[in-house]
Symmetry: C2
Subunit: 205 residues, 2 copies
């Protein structure tokens, strides 16, 4: 549903053509999540079917220019006023993967964790590089929205990394696995704090 809402948000500033929406959406969201053009048109068609937008062809043009309806404006306001809940988000494939790797016999969970750790690490480095050296931007300065998205990816990748390390610790404690070609590590090593670092309460205000 997020693409539909996103298009509604862009339409709030005035009527647009389909391609325009694609461009603006990608500019805001960045090249990280490429948005297929076709998606824009299909989504617009469905939004029109649901009465959220209305498409009209100005004067003699063939192409359609879409604008928000009153209903669409309501929907949009609701989207911004209500928080995104856990139920809105899709299942995290990585969490499922590790959970089942830990469950199923005959799977080397530690190896799975290691592989993922390396990959996530590389992704994080790439993201950090991107932040330090943003590509050529159309306007002079980098878009604020794009910065926010990029930071989101960085924070999430970093949390994933910490979680993976935490998993290693948990697994080591739960299963004193035979160390690979080395004497078994002393129990108590590889300790990881049981809580995420920041204090939740502190920001409650």
């Amino acid at each position: 549903m997020s693409i539909a809402h996103g298009l509604l948000a862009l339409l709030q500033d005035g009527p647009r053509y389909g391609y325009q929406l694609r461009v603006e959406f990608e500019r805001a969201t960045g090249s990280t999540w490429p948005l297929n053009v076709g998606q824009v048109y299909t989504t617009l068609a469905r939004l029109e079917r649901d009465g959220q937008v209305a498409g009209h062809a100005p004067d003699g043009e063939g192409r359609l220019r879409y604008e928000l309806t009153a209903s669409g404006r309501e929907t949009l306001a609701g989207w911004f006023s209500r928080p995104v809940t856990l139920g809105d988000r899709p299942r995290d494939e990585l969490a499922i993967k590790l959970a089942l790797a830990a469950t199923a016999a005959g799977v080397d969970v530690r190896a799975v964790v290691q592989v993922q750790r390396v990959a996530t690490m590389q992704r994080l480095q790439e993201l950090t590089r991107l932040k330090r050296d943003p590509g050529p931007t159309v306007s002079g300065d980098t878009d604020l929205a794009w910065i926010l998205v990029l930071d989101n990816l960085r924070f999430m990748a970093e949390a994933e990394l910490r979680w993976l390390e935490h998993c290693e610790g948990t697994l080591t404690r739960a299963r004193p696995a035979a160390a690979t070609s080395a004497p078994a590590p002393a129990p108590g090593s590889d300790q990881v704090p049981d809580q995420p670092s920041a204090d939740p309460q502190e920001a409650l205000r």
Copy 2:
């Protein structure tokens, strides 16, 4: 695709009936992401269509028991050996929402951030409570897989919270917004570190 892979993983330990798979999947993944029963059967049907599993009815039973095929075993091994990449994951609705809230005029981004911060905070507290006091478990001890999943949710919620605070700082710096019914805060307050806390390099080995 993650559900299909998950079912394959569960089937690795031997042939199962549909309902059995639902129960085991939920036990591993926890009640956080309830898995509809119907999904199991439809997914199994599609997996059979693709030659990943085979369903046979033992002796005189009407119901089908599924087992992995050689191809399914390969797929599963591939899933575990390759990391989850960014491309595999769906777009994060919250990131899109904030990016577009920052882009579109006439939207109070700060308010959106605040609403989300409160909600995420509550979710994190609920998750922490769950970890401290897990519900009645079938077996005596809490399942390892469930612990991992729960920790994942906690780490992610915590990262989201930090990102939201980071957004506040960024927005304050970018747009010295009129403070709501209070003298404008001195610039330099609400400072947030520009980097996620942990050092990426440290875990590269």
